[in-house]
């Protein structure tokens, strides 16, 4: 029973981790919180759903399609809502506000196109259960775990070893210095936002599969959870986002299993409000009280 809950928690948590990674990458490089991330996640979920239901594609094609759409949205987001603000001196709240604008826009657009009701994936994907002793694990859970852990490992490797990954880390360290040292920072920023949005969209499909429901409001609720993980793990900290996501997933599953299920949505922010009292820089944040700057 306990092990079962842990597996369920890890499945949920790995999707949270992927969402939070998107926030973290953008925060690390640009030092802003991208409030539109949740909505890009939601659009990704819808694109995946449409590919599966309307075009009868396989699940991996749907994931790839969602990722591509997410990357395109990320490009547009950077061009429309972020880049114009970087050109001149504006308050640090400006990007936060303009991405809130994008989020509201995308949400109501999705409401117009897809309608307010929740839609679900065809039953082909939910069937089969594997039993390992007392542990039951569905094929969906295996897909989710494999895809999200695969992405996390690939991202780690990519950031650590490739030239682009190194440029991203250098830019995250200090944008101006990286620019002086010959890093094409505006290209790095575009790549980062596209990558983060692509990851967010994949997470959308995974969450849509996990809950078997895709609806326009899921962007807000899941976006909030990603934000909670962002603070939980420490702003801009990649490891923090991964571990924080898994922790939140497990905490939520346990609160449903052993507590009050209707308060599940409040668990994430209950956690961060407590955390802000005890360890405000996040679980993996650096020692300074300024957070992961």
């Amino acid at each position: 029973m306990l092990l079962q809950q842990v597996v369920n928690g890890l499945t949920l948590g790995s999707t949270y981790a992927i969402i939070a990674l998107g926030y973290t990458l953008i925060f690390g490089v640009l030092n802003i919180v991208n409030m539109a991330h949740g909505e890009i996640f939601m659009i990704g979920a819808f694109v995946g759903l449409m590919l599966v239901t309307k075009l009868q594609t396989g699940i991996f094609t749907a994931l790839a399609g969602a990722m591509l759409t997410g990357a395109v949205l990320g490009y547009l987001l950077e061009r429309i809502a972020l880049r114009p603000l970087r050109r001149r001196e504006v308050s640090h709240l400006a990007p936060l506000i303009s991405t809130i604008g994008v989020s509201i826009f995308l949400e109501s657009l999705a409401l117009k196109i897809f309608g307010p009701q929740a839609q679900s994936f065809p039953p082909v994907f939910s069937g089969q259960l594997f039993e390992l002793g007392t542990l039951k694990i569905s094929i969906i859970q295996i897909v989710i775990l494999a895809v999200s852990f695969g992405l996390m490992i690939a991202l780690r490797f990519w950031l650590a070893k490739t030239k682009m990954g190194k440029s991203i880390r250098a830019t995250a360290e200090n944008l101006e210095t990286a620019g002086l040292l010959g890093v094409n920072t505006s290209q790095v920023i575009i790549v980062t936002v596209m990558l983060a949005s692509g990851l967010g969209s994949v997470a959308g499909v995974l969450v849509g599969l996990a809950f078997n429901a895709v609806e326009p409001t899921m962007g807000i609720t899941m976006g909030f959870k990603g934000l909670a993980v962002l603070i939980l793990g420490g702003l801009g900290n990649i490891t923090g986002a991964m571990v924080g996501g898994l922790l939140l997933g497990i905490a939520e599953v346990f609160s449903v299993a052993y507590g009050e299920s209707s308060y599940r949505e409040a668990v994430a922010f209950g956690l961060i409000i407590i955390l802000l009292f005890i360890r405000p820089q996040g679980l993996f944040g650096s020692g300074s009280a300024q957070g992961g700057r």
Binding site: V33, I80, A81, P84, L85, V90, S91, H92, L93, A94, P95, L96, I97, S98, I100, G101, V102, S103, I104, F105, L106, E107, S108, L109, L111, K112, I220, F224, L227, A228, L230, I231, L235, E260, S262, Y263, E265, A266, A268, F269, G270, I272, I273, L276, F277, P280, Q281, A289, Q290, G291, R293
Partner: protein, 325 residues
Amino acid sequence: MDQWLNPYYLQIVMFMLINAMLGISIYFTLATGQLSLGNAGFMSVGAYTSALLSLKAGLPLYLSIPAGGVAACVLAAVIGIPATRLQGIYLAIATLGFGEVVRVIILNMKVTNGALGLSGIPALSVQIGKQLNSLGLGSGLGGITVQQLSNLSVIGLLALVVIFLVFFALRLRHSRLGRAFAAIKDDEHAAEVTGVDTVRYKLLAFFMSAFVAGIAGALAAHITFYIGPKDFSYHRAVEILLFAVLGGGNVIWGPLLGAGILTLLPELLRTVADYREMIYGGILVIMMIFRPQGLISEETLRLWRSKLFPAAKTEQEAVARRSAG
């Protein structure tokens, strides 16, 4: 006369004044350069506290409405104290989360009647109507029915609150407190180095904002007679933010103008009401790109002042010179 005093118009005016209060509430936190997205949450706390106190405990409205403001303030302390010690971004996220937690709690509690919300909340206008009746105005006054009269009194009351808040904000600007706020907004580190207790002032601004939002929520509850968790969602928080972003968050007139425009616009343009959220989103992005300071900024005010009162300007400069010298 009757045409102008129909309940629909009067209600729009009331909403405009309530929104003006909410605009002022976000202005207080913006005055210290912080972004609080919890105003919808504080509003709901104020609304539910006051509604429940008057519904279940029979408390008179002149006590329950301030109690709503105080309750919002208390909750502001719970999240404000840890969050304001950190970068501004923490407050934005923590308050956003706070709004969500409050919504979930309200949705699940018995006393708040869950998703159905509270109805039959004692109405401000009815209470005032009773008072008017006891004053012998039961038959109305000079062609205005008692209903219209009590609605007008509610508007008068709301307008008084708004005028008081505006006056307060204007006085604040040139006080020690207001200068501390402005210094923090300009450069937090510089302010701290020059001896401004930044944490204390940021918290104070945050409390003021929560209190005003709580009062506005309480008043709204007693005007609409019905409140539900849906009234205080994330969209509400964004709408409040939009008052300040559109009108301008640097001067008190900005949020007032923003609240006025954004209350009237959906009423005037019924056909685009379906696309309201999309338009709101677009406005936020466009304002940030082209005019991040909002429609009214300090420069606009200065320009108008010098155009309208050329004499007053020289007088002001003289005052400025004297105080500088």
